[in-house]
Symmetry: C4
Subunit: 478 residues, 4 copies
Amino acid sequence: MGKVFTATEVAEHNTRKSCWVILYGKVYDVRPPGGANVILKLAGKDATEEFDPVHPAGTLEENLRPEALLGNVDPSTISAVEPQLGGIEKPENHPPVQSLLNMDEIEELATKKASKKAWAYYYSAADDKITKRFNTEAFRSILLRPRVFIDCTECSLETTLLGNQVSMPIYVAPAAQARLGHPSGEAGIAEACGGFGALQIISNSASMTPEQIVANAVPGQTFGWQLYVQDDRTKSEKMIARVNKLSAIKFLVLTLDTPVMGKREDDQRGGNVINELTAMESPEGSEPVPEKQVFAGFDPSLTWTETLAWLAKHTSLPVVLKGIQTHEDAYIAALHNSQVKGIVLSNHGGRSLDTAPPAVHTLLEMRKYCPEVFDKVEVWIDGGVRRGTDVVKALCLGARGVGLGRPPLWGLAAGGVDGVKRTLQILADETKTCMRLLGVQRLDQLGMQHINTRLLEQQIYDGPSGLGAYRGRFPAKI
Amino acid sequence: MGKVFTATEVAEHNTRKSCWVILYGKVYDVRPPGGANVILKLAGKDATEEFDPVHPAGTLEENLRPEALLGNVDPSTISAVEPQLGGIEKPENHPPVQSLLNMDEIEELATKKASKKAWAYYYSAADDKITKRFNTEAFRSILLRPRVFIDCTECSLETTLLGNQVSMPIYVAPAAQARLGHPSGEAGIAEACGGFGALQIISNSASMTPEQIVANAVPGQTFGWQLYVQDDRTKSEKMIARVNKLSAIKFLVLTLDTPVMGKREDDQRGGNVINELTAMESPEGSEPVPEKQVFAGFDPSLTWTETLAWLAKHTSLPVVLKGIQTHEDAYIAALHNSQVKGIVLSNHGGRSLDTAPPAVHTLLEMRKYCPEVFDKVEVWIDGGVRRGTDVVKALCLGARGVGLGRPPLWGLAAGGVDGVKRTLQILADETKTCMRLLGVQRLDQLGMQHINTRLLEQQIYDGPSGLGAYRGRFPAKI
Amino acid sequence: MGKVFTATEVAEHNTRKSCWVILYGKVYDVRPPGGANVILKLAGKDATEEFDPVHPAGTLEENLRPEALLGNVDPSTISAVEPQLGGIEKPENHPPVQSLLNMDEIEELATKKASKKAWAYYYSAADDKITKRFNTEAFRSILLRPRVFIDCTECSLETTLLGNQVSMPIYVAPAAQARLGHPSGEAGIAEACGGFGALQIISNSASMTPEQIVANAVPGQTFGWQLYVQDDRTKSEKMIARVNKLSAIKFLVLTLDTPVMGKREDDQRGGNVINELTAMESPEGSEPVPEKQVFAGFDPSLTWTETLAWLAKHTSLPVVLKGIQTHEDAYIAALHNSQVKGIVLSNHGGRSLDTAPPAVHTLLEMRKYCPEVFDKVEVWIDGGVRRGTDVVKALCLGARGVGLGRPPLWGLAAGGVDGVKRTLQILADETKTCMRLLGVQRLDQLGMQHINTRLLEQQIYDGPSGLGAYRGRFPAKI
Amino acid sequence: MGKVFTATEVAEHNTRKSCWVILYGKVYDVRPPGGANVILKLAGKDATEEFDPVHPAGTLEENLRPEALLGNVDPSTISAVEPQLGGIEKPENHPPVQSLLNMDEIEELATKKASKKAWAYYYSAADDKITKRFNTEAFRSILLRPRVFIDCTECSLETTLLGNQVSMPIYVAPAAQARLGHPSGEAGIAEACGGFGALQIISNSASMTPEQIVANAVPGQTFGWQLYVQDDRTKSEKMIARVNKLSAIKFLVLTLDTPVMGKREDDQRGGNVINELTAMESPEGSEPVPEKQVFAGFDPSLTWTETLAWLAKHTSLPVVLKGIQTHEDAYIAALHNSQVKGIVLSNHGGRSLDTAPPAVHTLLEMRKYCPEVFDKVEVWIDGGVRRGTDVVKALCLGARGVGLGRPPLWGLAAGGVDGVKRTLQILADETKTCMRLLGVQRLDQLGMQHINTRLLEQQIYDGPSGLGAYRGRFPAKI
């Protein structure tokens, strides 16, 4: 560990067989497993600028064998990689975030200010992005039914999510790599949420540790923590143990919609190295990809029985299942409602499987085939929410919480903490305006009588039940 | 009041705490309440050019405390704000309005001639303007069914609206701020309507007083007056009292679709100050907007019981309810038909709630769920009418009157009184041509057999009744 | 009549009150009635170049009072108007018509070669051209069902239309003003049709006389003649008498879809004078248009009873009614099948009433509500046919003849007689290829089993019968 | 045969009546029959560069009379036609195929690298290419239904096609003229397929002989051979006899969807000569095309009874019928399942009849009207497959094999053998990712519960059965 290398020496180790990089002034051997094709691009170089904004403190220690640390680099010998950070480096004459009027304008400004890499990571979605677009279009195809001559002087967005008091039903969904957009990162999002009484779910792939993110929480501020179960279960168990100790974190969100990673071509074109240590081998070679290597790090073998039991052994926090996309799985989830207290209808922002249905499809399916689920677990949704009217429509359909994936990241990239605040404020204001124009004062007054879903009803699934192992008389009452 | 200030002195009072403006040579203190964020842009300046075209005579006296008038300005010390008026200031080589063939061309010319501010105010609609576009597209998706071998030599557009004889079913809907488009303002629209025997509804936010607008009415010319109920009811009562005295005004139109203002982003971008004294605090700060401040001036607490009773105490004029967007509210309105003689199916030209349904949806809903309403009250519609075929389709569906919102304003901006005349003539001609090609001589011959609404029928609401407090067996006969 | 004027003298008469023009070296007084606003543009000038290509020989004599002929012009004093004729004047390097592969390419070439006026007249359609586009799109939304393993060595397009043997079911629909596109005019179209055994219907507003058009007919070549009944019935009676004498003309086509002219804005913008002597007053003034003046020349008072009886008095030719757009009128027409031998489902190429349905809608309506009509009268269609697959689809739905409106005019403008031949050949070849790929050898084998009209069926009318005076139990069997 | 001509002598024979060309140093008389209009463009020239890449060895000997070979050319007298070959001649700075992420990018690169002629041949489809586009859009309109909490660690694409073990259900459909895209030709595709365990069907119009294509097959590699029955049956019989001897070829694919060639305008514009000796007279003259000449070479008289019996006499290989586009023909095919072991639902990549339905329509029709067919014959499909999700959707609907038409040719043109490998790898990887995200490990687990076909179900045929000679009670059980 006391060994000192020159940059020139490091530079010689730039092959798959011998692959060194400089990180935070230290020299590491990052040959697979652990590294991947992508990191070869940085082999032999100082990768700190690329690595830092996308990995929380402690990542190296957790993922590399101790012997991977070879020594220190002689600082006088290195010349930095050209930084590609977003958000703050380009002092162009951009409009202030306070002047931005809607989510599109925030994304537009973020696109200008963010690094190409950050943009590609946030923007990308699976294949042809059909589901990404459909997420938003599905909301737009629902019509509202404004009622008149109703006193709407008062109007409140207050509600509870899993029993936690929040100021609005809008929450920040788990999305990775916030520091890629702005140095304030996930802690900056937390600061904005604190001011608005909004719930935040911390990504398993956050670029900061959970401890850092919740450090400055205001009293009563609520967090959830997202879990991707690792191949090496002990890693996940260690993280759960850390999370169990953080009182601000009230529940775990187990993400199920990405047992393997979707094909996000913008991201691949953007040359992102962000998934180096945890993500899939990119399919660049012409040889068929060997089995088991497709999503290095994450465990694709999860099942209802095994995984929930394992989780119960390691935490007593309520569990929310994220990525439910069929009424069948919503139904099965509700059968586990002693442990599973909520589900998130989500297609991962269109990032997993292209042509997967938007969450409003699943809501309508559930209302048709198993409406009792709404009484058994809380139903949250995310994906494509860009207007207060979208929020209201989801609530009318039975959702209790409405998550934002990309918008807070665009907000962060556009203006740091203030950008996230602007994002939340616009959506909260729009949601209230919509409620008042519907003649509604409280969230619990919203219902199917306020929306016309005729077009979507003509599109939702009406084929055979796919209940599989849970087959039986369907819809059986839970 | 005799005090004289220099422009330089006024200019020092340009903050929220001390905010003076010059209007018509006088100096006013316009601190909130009364003013708003927007007026700060003009703080310390001569605001006459901005203020005049959008406020009727008497606005200052009615809205400012007497002590707000601080004195006079020394005229030699002021330099005018750059004028932004539309319609007449730009002597470019524009085509004469007589050569314009349709509403699109009139809007196109108006867009060129109007100030950016006027354009933004007229053009804007809520959020993504989905409803604004849908208003027109819904008409286009209805097919006509021309009948042949019918004598159509004679063809008449004559009808009555609330018992008043008019030459056509097309009327001018209440739209604010006509002087923003052309100095002849609402009185110019009245002049055009007089020549065509068309009814005009005067906006509550007209830029001229009702007395000015009806001053030169021709014999038999009919007006309605639109009411937004003010927070301070005495203000509304005073206006109603004035209107009661004007014999040309035959009915009141109570607008219900805007208890709070919709989010009109084009307008916000246009930097309009037009709502300064009466409109909402624009959501520019990052702090949540305090309750009750969202729509300063207008009363969001109206209800069927309280408001109609209050109105009955102050006028015996027939009441028309504008902004009905569901069959449920149409049904309830018909229950009040001793006082309510008409309803306007309207989504405020798409300016209130985006993704609200077009009026033809509500017409079809009513025909399906409560067709008896058509016998109890007159049903008028507005929103998206751009062709004579649109007018005919609305009449076939059961509407008796068809309102024009933006087109007369575009006409005014394009060519003053002549522009409004051209607008009315084109639509009247197109309507007659359509009737003849359908084999119809009189309006009362139009019916459902002349239109194919199959596509729209697949889209209209078929969910649960939202009758609320009026719930019961539905559709109960009225 | 011997009086001689100088061009300068004529030029002084250029107002509505005193309006002279020079035509073929003579001076005429063309004040209304007879002339119209449009001709004022040519007042005082030599209008021959404008007038000639759009009016058949004899037009002046028939339409002007004898005293309108004032005398001759001194040829040495005139300078011609800039000619705007199409088709042959521009010797640019255009591709040969033999290289054109489809209707779009023919229209594209014609658009380049034709005068702006000819283009505008041919291209224009009512209002926003929704029906014009829908005519073609409706065909495209029908899917074909190719059958396999069927011997299609032989394939014939032969059929009969009203008992006349023709080589293909495709015919040339009546379309006016062929000489506007090319000097060979309607006689050139006749020449092309003769070579292909195709039927041609001569327009009432042809730019050549019927006698000229049929002069060079080949043995067995079949024509129809289109009748617009004139306000002055004696004019129509004279024309019918002339047509009765032409043995090549086998039937009359009474056009019913244009009792008043549709609003064709492209044509109005193109400054066409072609309707001067027979067409409507263009709505250019701001005063309401006086009754009865809207469509000077044509009789808008036609009815089933009166008009058919009148026609029977003047000809024994079979009658075809053109412009049927509802199953109700098809049904009524079939009730008159002692005299009415055919109907043409047509919306006048989208030129009359915008948002009128395409002919395939009416075919589907008839199949649903009154299929017996197909056994009582021949059913022809026109509008939007651009491919052989369109022809086949119409035949599968029950049509016996399929008319081409614009394509032969584009062909003529693109290449004279050869252009029309190319048009007919392409469509005949495509039709045969389509039949073979469906596994069909003869036209009578085509049926509903060869097409999938599911999308259109979701759009066709299903409202109340509009049988009107013919009301009764519906569908009553004929 | 010993005669030697100079190029100048050959050049004199450049008319329809006397038409010589130079091929491979020899001089041939290629007057019709045998040649066609197109070859006239090369009359009198050295056509080797045009001819070679599109015709397999032996073509001249098989198609020309022996006396057509006139002698040799004196090589010193000829100057070559400008070569137009694709794939390798343009050494521009193109991206490596390994960096291409999807089918669109591969087509994009191929479009840049290929000759205009090759592009036109591969890209073209019938008429307006509506069916070509619809093939892909139909897949996109099917939604997937991802299931969660299912172990998807293992995932296999292995299956059998007609009893032959293959590594994936994706196969290379018969597509002609591979050497037009790259010199490695069909043998290059075979090399790529060998590495991936993928089945390949050799086109009847391949640019290499079957013997050449299968020469380097790896053990267990499976081929099919496509048959277009020739007018001159003895030619087809000779080819079948050759194919019978090739043990790698396991079945014959009889293509039925092109009894006459569709109208491929891009190809006609590209000036392709590829169909010279075997294909249709292009409709360039203005005279009607004589009967029987439309598709010189191919036999349009095939029928279920005659042709299958003839085929049985010449081969004992299993037969697959390609080009089935209705449930009726699928049903009839299954009646012949002693000989017909598979059917390919195909519209020839949209190249035959425009507005023919996509294969997924036929799959849905079959599931509705004659699901028993799936148990009687293997059902394969092709057309429009561009994503792994498309493959999965076809399999869910009941297809067993999924063919690729254009993609391997684009791959070949983009990068030779490596380009085809990249094509196969991308689709295999995408298919696996899709299966895992649906929670599926094996192909036989895919079913209707994994897809939402609601939109397509609203479009499929529901008219009368067109069973024709096979009419009876329908759907009769097979």
